[in-house]
Amino acid sequence: MKTRRDFLRELIVSVGGVSALAACGDAPVVVATATGEPGRFHTAEEMELMARLSELIIPRTETPGAIDVNVPGYIDGLMADWASEETRGAHRRALGEIERRLSANGSFPALDDAQAESLLAELDRAAFAEAAGELGGYRTFKGYVTRSYFATEGGAREELQWIAVPGRWDPDVLVSDRQGV
C-alpha cells in the first residue's frame, strides 16, 4: 500500500522540488506554490490578479488574510496538481472575465484599494443576484479562495478556531460562546 510519505515523495519529484515544500516528518505539509515563486499554472499577471482579489475577499484583520496564508499559491497548486484541462480552462476564462468586468473603466490592477473594493463588491452582488450564468466563474473562484483560506493553518486555526481533537459533542451552544469547531 502506498503511504502518505510515498505520495509526498512522488509529488515532490513531479514538481521538480521547486515549489512543493513538503516535509515527511511532523512538520506541516504545504503543497502550494510558495509565496514569491512563479506560478506553476498561472501567469505572473494572473497571480497578481488572484492576490488582489483574494485579499479583497478575505482581508487581513486581527487574523491572517488571504495573502498572509498564500491563498494564490494554494490555488496555483490546485490548478497545477488537481485540475483537469477542462477545469483549468474554465478557471482561466473566469479570471479573464473577472478582470474584464473590473477593468471596464480602467485597469483594475492600477486602482487603489477603495476603488477596487467598491468594484468587486458590485461584481459580487451581481454574481449572487443571478442563479448562474456569466458570473458563475466568479462564484467558483470565490469558492476556491474561501476553501483555500480555511484549508490553511492560519485560516483554520486562527480565524475558524479549528480544533484537531474536539473530544466531546455539544449539540447546542450559544453563538456568543466563541469556541472552536
Binding site: V29, I57, L78, D81, W82, S84, P171, D172
Partner: protein, 569 residues
C-alpha cells in the same frame, strides 16, 4: 501448487462479517486462517485520520485526471469518502474491472485490504425487525426466511455488546432497540424537527441515528485498545482511537489474542475444491495477488465472507463434475436475487429561529433517523415494504464561499452558524428478483485469470413508486416542521450497488430446491461450507445491514463449532 496447510476453519474475507466469523471461531478454540485478497493495513502507517486540513493539499481531493483514469466507478459513488489521503482504501477501476449488461448500471464499490469495507463504512447500525423476516411469506414474495427475529435476538445482543453502538432506547416494535451506549444527542434544530414531525404524523418517529461509535467504552473494548469517539469526523480515513467499529479496530484483534488466528494477505480465492466422496469442500485454491503463485489451503470447514458478490463469484468459479454450474448451486440460485437499498429521494429546507445556536465537535455520522412507517403504522400505500430516512441538520455558515459579500464581514460571517438546514434522504427496500443477478463473463478475465463479473440488475416498479412517494413524504414532513426554502430534486434512483449494501446472492431457505443455504447459513449441498456475508439475505429490509450480517456470522460460527465438536461435519 506450493503447499497444503491444514486449519480447522478458513474464513474467506476479513471485512465486516469475516472478522466476526474469525473472532467467534477463534474464541471457540478453532485454528482459523483468514484469507484476505488485498494487502495488509497497518493503522500506524496507513491511517490518515490525524492529518490536519493544511496537511492535505488540494482539499485532499484526488486529481480529476486520476479519477477519470483510475476511480471512474468508485469516485462517483463515494465522493464523500474517497480522498487523496485514503484513496488506496478503494479499488482501482482500471485494475478491477467488471461488465454491466446492456441497458443496466451497477456500482460495485469496494476495498481490497485488511478489514475490507469495514474501514470505510458509514457506521449506521440497525437491527431488522420481526416484520422483516415475515413479509416475504405474508406477501408471497420470493421465499420465506427460514428463521424469525426471535432466533437472532441473542446474537444481535452478543454482537452489539462487543461492537459498541451509540443509540437511544425507543421501544419501537419494528425497529427494536439494540444494546446501546449513549447516543449523540440531537441538535436543537433536530429536536424541534422531531417534535413537530411526531406531532403532525403520529405514526412516525424521529430518533437519533444509531451508529457504531463508542461513547462509553466497556472494559472489553478498552482491552482491545479502543476508546471513545473524539468527535473529529475523520472516520473514512481509519481511526487511531479505534472508536468506530471495524474488523481492524475490533474483531481481528479479538481473534488474534486467542492465539488461534493466522492471516494471509494478497490471497485471492479462485475456487473451492470439492471432494464428492465426503461431500465436503476439501481445499481453497488461491492465487497470490503479487506473485500470481497458486497454492491450496485445507480446513475442516470454510466460511465465505468475501462479500455477497465475491462469494457468489467464488461459488460460480468452483465448477466440478458434481457441480457443473458452480459449487452448492443445485438450486440455481447462486448469483441471483442480488439486492441493494435504493435512494435518490429526499428533501431539504431551512429552519428559522436557530441562528443563535451552533454545535461543538464534529459529529461523526448521522444525525437523525426516521424509521420505516410505510406498511407498518401507515397502511395506505401504493407500494409494498418501505424505507427509512437518514438525515440531519447543520448550519450553513461554511458554504464554501457561496454567500454574498466580501471583506471583513464576509470573512467573519464564517464564525457564525448562519441559518440551519435540515435534510432527509430515503433508503428503500429493494424486492428480491431472481433475474437480478451476477454471472461470470464467458471470455473476459482479470489479470489473475478470474472471469469478470457481469451485473444485470434492474429496479422494479415497486421501488420506483416507493421513492416517488418517499419524496412527497419528505417534503410534507419538512413543511410540517416549518421549514422554508424547501428543495427536493426530482427522484433519481441511485444505481444498484451505490448504497454498498449488496446482498441476497446465495439466499437461505428451508427448501434446497429454491435456496443455497439453510437457516444456519450452511450450504444445503455441502455441509462444511458456510456463507455469512450479505449473500444469505432473503429480503433486504430497509435498514443498514452490517449488524445483521455480523449477528448471523456469530450465530453460524458457533453452530459450526458445535457441529465440529459433535463430529457432524
Amino acid at each position: 501448487m506450493a503447499e497444503a496447510t491444514q486449519f480447522d476453519a478458513i474464513v474467506v474475507g476479513s471485512g465486516m462479517s469475516g472478522g466476526m466469523s474469525a473472532k467467534e471461531l477463534c474464541e471457540r478454540g478453532l485454528r482459523v486462517l483468514v484469507l484476505e485478497r488485498g494487502p495488509e493495513i497497518v493503522p500506524e502507517r496507513d491511517y490518515s485520520d490525524n492529518l490536519a486540513p493544511w496537511q492535505s493539499p488540494n482539499f485532499d481531493n484526488v486529481s480529476q485526471d486520476e479519477i477519470a483514469q483510475r476511480y471512474f466507478r468508485q469516485y462517483p459513488g463515494v465522493p464523500y469518502a474517497l480522498k487523496e489521503s485514503n484513496k488506496d482504501f478503494w479499488v482501482r477501476d482500471d485494475v478491477h474491472d467488471y461488465v454491466e449488461a446492456e441497458g443496466t448500471r451497477y456500482e460495485w464499490l469496494r476495498g481490497y485490504h485488511t478489514a475490507g469495507r469495514s474501514i470505510m463504512w458509514s457506521r449506521q447500525t440497525y437491527r431488522l425487525g420481526p416484520q422483516d423476516f415475515e413479509e416475504n411469506q405474508r406477501e408471497g414474495v420470493a421465499i420465506d426466511w427460514p428463521v424469525r427475529y426471535e432466533d437472532i435476538v441473542p446474537w444481535y445482543e452478543k454482537v452489539e455488546t462487543f461492537v459498541g453502538i451509540a443509540g437511544s432506547e425507543e421501544g419501537l416494535g419494528h425497529l427494536p432497540d439494540s444494546v446501546f451506549q449513549p447516543p449523540f444527542e440531537l441538535t436543537a434544530v433536530e429536536k424541534a424537527f422531531k417534535q413537530r414531525v411526531e406531532t403532525s404524523f403520529p405514526g412516525r418517529n424521529v430518533i437519533p441515528a444509531r451508529v457504531a461509535h463508542l461513547t462509553d467504552a466497556t472494559e472489553e473494548q478498552r482491552s482491545l485498545g479502543r476508546s471513545n469517539c473524539q468527535l473529529r469526523n475523520r472516520c473514512h480515513h481509519g481511526c487511531s482511537f479505534r472508536a468506530y467499529f471495524s474488523s481492524l479496530n475490533a474483531t481481528l484483534p479479538a481473534a488474534g489474542r486467542t492465539g488461534n488466528l493466522t492471516m494471509a494477505h494478497n490471497a485471492i480465492v479462485q475456487s473451492l475444491e470439492y471432494d464428492p466422496e465426503s461431500n465436503r469442500v476439501s481445499g481453497v485454491r488461491v492465487v497470490d495477488a503479487e506473485t500470481s503463485e497458486a497454492r491450496t489451503y485445507t480446513s475442516r470447514i470454510v466460511f465465505l465472507n468475501a462479500s455477497a458478490i465475491a462469494s457468489a463469484l467464488i461459488l460460480l468459479q468452483s465448477q466440478s463434475e458434481s457441480f457443473p454450474t458452480g459449487l452448492a448451486n443445485r438450486s440455481d440460485q447462486v448469483g441471483r436475487n442480488l439486492m441493494d437499498h435504493v435512494s435518490g429521494a429526499g428533501a431539504a429546507g431551512i429552519m428559522r429561529g436557530f441562528d443563535d445556536r451552533k454545535v461543538f465537535g464534529r459529529r461523526p455520522s448521522g444525525g437523525i433517523y426516521i424509521p420505516r412507517y410505510a406498511n407498518i403504522t401507515e397502511t395506505d400505500k401504493p407500494y409494498t415494504r418501505g424505507f427509512g430516512y437518514q438525515g440531519g441538520a447543520s448550519p450553513l455558515g461554511h458554504a464554501n464561499g457561496q454567500i454574498p459579500g466580501i471583506g471583513r464581514q464576509f470573512k467573519e460571517s464564517h464564525r457564525r452558524p448562519g441559518p440551519w438546514r435540515i435534510s432527509i434522504g430515503a433508503f428503500g427496500e429493494q424486492l428480491p428478483n431472481p433475474d437480478n443477478r451476477v454471472t461470470l463473463h464467458p471470455t473476459r478475465a482479470d489479470r489473475w485469470g478470474n472471469p469478470l463479473p457481469v451485473f444485470e440488475v434492474r429496479y422494479s416498479r415497486n421501488e420506483e413508486i416507493m421513492l416517488e412517494e418517499a419524496r412527497k413524504d419528505a417534503i410534507a414532513m419538512l413543511e410540517a416542521a416549518g421549514c422554508e426554502e424547501i428543495t427536493s430534486s426530482p427522484v433519481n434512483l441511485t444505481n444498484p450497488g451505490n448504497r454498498i449494501h449488496e446482498m441476497g446472492s446465495a439466499r437461505m431457505g428451508r427448501d434446497p430446491e429454491s435456496s443455497v443455504l439453510n437457516g444456519w447459513c450452511q450450504a444445503h449441498d455441502v455441509p462444511n461450507l458456510f456463507i455469512t456475508d450479505g449473500a444469505f439475505m432473503v429480503s433486504a429490509a430497509c435498514q443498514n445491514p452490517s449488524l445483521t450480517y455480523m449477528a448471523f456470522s456469530a450465530r453460524a460460527a458457533n453452530h459450526a463449532a458445535d457441529l465440529l465438536a459433535e463430529g457432524i461435519v
